[in-house]
Amino acid sequence: MNMRRTFFMIAACAGLLGGSEAFAQCDTIASICEKNITAEYIPDGQFYRALLREDEVAEFEATLFGGATYRVAACSGLSEGNLIFSVYDKQRNLLFSNKELNNEPYWDLVVANTLDVIINAELDPGKANSGCAVLLIGFKR
């Protein structure tokens, strides 16, 4: 076995181990995040996560129904406030961001009329360089 192959073996195994470690990290973060979807909210049944590095931005789309109250919880790392999340409408008008609110780990959205939104999540560069970002959504009855 030559040097190059040995190098790749080590790098690959490290990469794979790193990947599973990162996913295990997502699991732990999800458990922390779930605490913010408190008893009065029904989980939407989905789990949103992304592994982020530096200035990467995770983005997903959702439809929020009129007349409903949603709770969005956003977490990364083992302490709260590492993740910046922002909610935009489809015209990219900003509806909410926790950036100016000390990166609050959760926020409620009371929706008057149904709309499609885009939710962005990114790490606060002052607090984390990389990590698993987890978003959870619940709604009130």
Partner: protein, 296 residues
Amino acid sequence: MTVHKVYMWPATLLLAFGLAACGGPGQQGQADVAEDTTAAQTEGSNLLKVGDKLFSIPSPVQTVLLIHQMKTPYASGLPLAPERVGQFASKESQALALGVYGADLAYLAVYKDGQKALKTLKAVEELASHLNVANAFDKELMASFRNSINDEDSLLKLTGTAFRSADKYLKEDQRESVSVRVLAGGWIEGLYLTLGEGGSVLDPRVVARVAEQGHTLDNLIEMLGHDPGATELVASLKELATAYGQVKREYQFVEPTQDVGNKVTYINSTSKTEIAQEALQEIISKVRAIRAAITA
């Protein structure tokens, strides 16, 4: 979720060589690498994802709650009979059926049909076991279900929690195509339950809720588009999307208001949907046809 600026090539190389290195040497091993790498690029974890997206699909529980709030009478024939669970032989049909039964469970919970809810729960448990997500429906959770069978709020929360656990497990296990099918089954069943038993005259609130699902439908088609085994389902969803093309939607941004003390933002934007009767009938018939196909 879409992740921008993911470093795909290093990750792909690492995975390719990792499979070769950790999987053992030899020519056969190298041939396997090429196949596995391709699979990883199409259905792999978020580490490798570039350009493809994940979306939030509205919970069927919300749809069920709407029809309950409207005091729509309970229709015992609407949910899929739990006795039919054995008919779903392939993993693909089982994933769709899991979503269907999940939505039905919410329906049975809000209409307090405890007996049928328990049977449906058994069907969910069986499908979860076939799909290797039984750990999302562990003994503790199943016991909580049984103990809360007359408490609809608890049942709805438990349903949401269990399906979120299943979704998490499937994503961690890199089986996102199964996760999407579960969501698709739940979404179609939610719509089917909303449309009710027969008639074509619907409450305007139901019409509005049905009409508001166009974007979700587009998202589902995109998500299922990565699954080569879902060609037929995607084709029927595209036909439905064509019918949805006739829905007129208006949206007007209005500045939101914020109550920082209570951590609440009020989203005040306005929206309106309009749908011609003919288009509505087309949507209704296509939703029923798709539901019939996935439960056949």
